[in-house]
């Protein structure tokens, strides 16, 4: 029997396969299609202090082997999440990780504070990299100094394990990773979406109402693997790999370059059971290759 479990920030996960924020709702939407109890963790849609209605449509465009989104972080707000969604999620035996963002240092602190007092949340994932909020947290994800300060302040506001989600829209993911570690992050996750744009040549209008959006899906996987490799080699804290994972092989690619766990994003749209199939695929791979513990593969890359 293969041991798929991994430990991150003092938490034990039954397997390293989590669902990524913004692609799995509040978890419940998928329960007819898969057994949530099989997942390593569920990362919920990015929460903010106040409910946010997000950007005007169109909000998505299909691109070669990927998609652009400019959802604008629409969410029910932290209060409604705690009251309406979390109680239902608690019924499942799966780690719930609350992804959140703020439009200011204070909002980050306050939102994190509220979430960390709730029962049934295992960890927080801090989004410092969403490309869709314009005035808001975009600059946060870019300047290493700001990252360190922001993470430090949130760190003080919460007791829960804190995962910092990094932006790929940078020339230097290593510095960003080190800053987050310095600020007190327990783990990092990478990557969020790459900023992209698409135009309808007939109407000459951008295909997204907000002009630019975040690119996700298999198209970005090579960039994500590289960045996770760089980040993992720059810090001591665990890194969680995200970006274009569709199959167990894709997930393994991230683990081999150093990710302790992975998150499944766009693939949930292609197949609602994708994450569970990836878990099965990991088990099959380990059996075939005679790997007893999947964690033995973490960082096994031969460079």
């Amino acid at each position: 029997m293969v041991d798929l479990s991994v430990e991150i920030a003092g938490l034990r996960f039954r397997n390293p396969v989590w669902t990524a924020s913004g692609t799995f709702g509040y978890g419940l939407e998928f329960s007819p299609y898969l057994d949530l109890n099989q997942l390593g963790a569920i990362v919920v849609k990015g929460l903010s202090l106040k409910p946010s209605k997000g950007n005007p449509p169109p909000r998505t465009v299909e691109t070669p082997a990927g998609m652009l989104n400019s959802i604008g972080l629409q969410n029910v707000g932290v209060d409604a999440f705690l009251k309406e969604k979390l109680p239902q999620l608690r019924k499942f035996d799966t780690h719930v990780i609350a992804n959140f963002y703020g439009n200011s240092f204070e909002e980050y602190e306050e939102t994190a504070g509220k979430l960390s007092q709730a029962e049934g949340i295992s960890a927080l994932e801090m989004n410092i990299s969403c490309p869709n909020v314009k005035e808001g947290n975009l600059p946060f994800g870019r300047d290493p100094k700001v990252i360190e300060e922001l993470v430090g302040r949130v760190r003080k506001a919460v007791k829960l394990p804190l995962i910092v989600k990094l932006s790929p829209n940078t020339s230097d993911i290593k510095s960003a990773a080190r800053s987050a570690e310095q600020g007190g992050a327990d783990a990092l996750s990478a990557i969020n979406t790459l900023i992209g744009m698409s135009v309808d040549v007939r109407t000459k209008k951008p295909r997204l109402a907000k002009i630019t959006g975040g690119l996700s899906g298999p198209a970005i996987r090579p960039v994500a693997v590289r960045m996770v490799w760089e980040a993992a080699s720059a810090v001591k804290i665990p890194v969680i790999g995200i970006g274009g994972i569709v199959s167990a092989e894709d997930a393994l690619e991230f683990m081999i370059v150093g990710a302790k766990a992975v998150q499944i994003g766009t693939a949930n749209f292609l197949d609602p059971a994708a994450s569970v199939k990836i878990i099965e695929g990991l088990r099959d791979f380990c059996e075939k290759e005679q790997v007893e513990r999947v964690r033995d593969l973490i960082g096994a890359v031969r460079v």
């Binding site: 913004g22 799995f24 106040k50 209605k53 449509p57 070669p64 959802i71 604008g72």
Partner: protein
């Protein structure tokens, strides 16, 4: 994986497909839709394609689709016996009302979701209540599957923009004309599906004439599950608390076409 039973071109560019999917069919209602994978092991095109359910049978479902791009091209090339990855049903579907006159207004492939509706309603309508159908298209060849409607004894009113069949003009004009002839304030319930402009004109007409109107809204959809939040439709905001952090116009909030819809009360939408 499901299996294709048949896939035939009804008229140039319009296809009728039967898919063996008993479980899915068992849960389906008129006006709901499915999400069809066009990947076949490849990552491009990557997203599923939403398709309205045309007929619900014991053995599966039928769909009616138009060839408009790469995804529908891929589907059009599949044949009987081929596996097809279909999930669903998604969406709210139409409410079935036997106690009212129902006017169905469809543009092009917007016709698809009404076949099953008519099938389920037609023999159950209360006395004196009937179903009337109006179909609009740019030109006559864009009116597929008319023959199939005959099964239900329905002869739709037809409007073509080029005058190649029926009323020469927009289907909404035809509806308006037909309305003026109808009398009584207990007017028909309007159910519509088709291009956005047609639906908007109809919503406007419904308000002007004090009619109830439900429309099936077509949006680009990435997931179908209500999780990507990509398919939103602007609706009139009821409560005010979702305003602060959004950037959109005041008085508007967003609902998902895939889970809150695709059928909306036309009055709810901010057109």
């Amino acid at each position: 994986m499901n299996t294709i039973i048949f896939n035939k071109e009804l008229s140039p560019g319009y296809f009728h497909m039967g898919i063996s999917a008993p479980e899915l069919a068992g849960k389906a209602k008129p006006g709901q839709f499915v999400m069809i994978s066009v990947r076949d092991g490849r990552y491009d095109p990557i997203l599923r394609r939403p398709m309205g359910i045309m007929f619900i049978e014991k053995w599966g479902i039928e769909i009616l689709y138009q060839l408009v791009g790469r995804g529908t091209y891929i589907i059009s090339r599949m044949g009987p016996g081929d596996p097809i990855d279909v999930i669903g049903p998604f969406g709210n579907g139409f409410q079935l009302r036997h106690d009212r006159d129902i006017w169905i207004i469809a543009g092009g492939c917007g016709l698809a979701p009404f076949f099953e509706l008519v099938k389920q309603l037609s023999h159950k309508m209360e006395k004196g209540k009937k179903i009337t159908m109006f179909l609009g298209a740019r030109t006559y060849p864009d009116l597929p599957a008319l023959g199939l409607l005959e099964r239900f004894g329905i002869k739709p009113g037809i409007a073509t923009e080029d005058g190649s069949a029926g009323f020469h003009g927009l289907v909404t004009e035809l509806v308006e004309n037909s309305l003026s002839e109808s009398h009584g304030k207990d007017g028909p319930l309007l159910l519509a599906s088709g291009p956005f402009g047609m639906l908007r004109a109809l919503a406007d007409l419904a308000v002007r004439r004090g009619l109830e109107c439900f429309v099936s809204i077509d949006r680009r959809m990435a997931c179908g599950f209500g999780v990507c939040l990509g398919c939103v439709v602007p609706v009139k905001q009821v409560s005010e608390d979702a305003q602060e952090s959004g950037e959109s116009g005041a008085g508007i909030s967003y609902k998902c076409a895939c889970t809150d819809g695709p059928v909306f009360n036309a009055r709810e939408i901010v057109w």
